[in-house]
Symmetry: C2
Subunit: 157 residues, 2 copies
DNA sequence: TGCGATTAGATCGCGCACGATTTATATTCC
DNA sequence: GGAATATAAATCGTGCGCGATCTAATCGCA
């Protein structure tokens, strides 16, 4: 063997065990897959769901404002919002005071769907078994992730 | 107003504050963006980086084994591995004992690159400022995320 | 007033991620 | 041995996510 492994045998089985990035990546994949099942009822994707929630909490936002909330750029949001518009969920129109900005509003159907979506977080918790031990630690988990993400964004800027 | 908000004003600014899923999503985006910068030196994407690390820790894996490690299916891995093969990083060949399975090995260049990648985790930590407080909590964070991801995968299955 | 700089979105190309389906090989069981 | 079944990977279509670039509208400032 010209390349003997300097690692214990278990590293062949769990080569990513010490990597936060991988745990976040894998958790993100897992979340997305479960969300697909839950959101399929409305034909929504996860980022589309986020847009509806954002607009429910405050309608008539600009593309840029949505981007700040979701950490996405116009190159991602523009086609996504066009698909949502085609699905009759939102309306897009240029701001008359500044023709550069596009304002996004919930349509009537969009508001109906957005209101129905209030049950989604509960559905997700129920689907994962609502372990009270885990639920109690979620605020800490969120705080750690948000702090880490802020550092990463700062480093990438 | 036909739809007065039942929420405090701050929910317009931070509508996703209480959602773990969103913190994970946002952290995953942030990680990916910083990784792009770091991996650009080798022309690698993050999942391609993961494949190289996996093969460095244990070469000659099947597509299915890689999928179990990375939580990906052949519909994602096959084109990804073909791009890596085209880039001269890996070799793909059918297993002679079972012609259904494809085995993936590091090429000579792939091994060189994989060895160079050992500096990547350190580069990432350095780029984010290596806060000792945060580093100390990473094992807990990883454990929480892995446990959550396992529950999500179980629920989605 | 006018022109360079800035800003908001849109467009394009590429690489994931994944549901659904297909192809090819192995296995099972009679 | 041969048909039904199972398994591994590949293929196809769609929707993100993002770097790079473009267009159009606004702002700044002499």
């Amino acid at each position: 063997m010209s390349h003997p492994s300097p690692h214990p045998a278990s590293s062949r089985e769990k080569p990513f065990a010490p990597f936060v990035c991988f745990s976040i990546y894998a958790a993100s994949l897992a979340f997305n897959r479960l969300y697909k099942q839950v959101l399929d009822r409305w034909g929504l994707t996860y980022p589309q769901y986020l847009v509806l929630v954002a607009l429910r909490e405050g309608d008539d936002r600009t593309v840029g404002e949505l981007g700040e909330l979701l950490f996405l750029e116009s190159n991602t949001l523009t086609p996504l919002l066009k698909r949502m518009e085609a699905a009759g969920l939102v309306e897009r129109r240029r701001d008359s005071a500044d023709e550069r900005v596009v304002r996004v509003q919930l349509s009537e159907r969009g508001r109906t769907v957005a209101d129905e979506l209030t049950c989604v977080p509960g559905d997700m918790i129920a689907a994962t078994g609502e372990d009270p031990e885990m639920l109690a630690h979620l605020p800490d988990l969120i705080a750690s992730l948000d702090s880490l993400a802020a550092k990463l964004r700062h480093a990438a800027a």
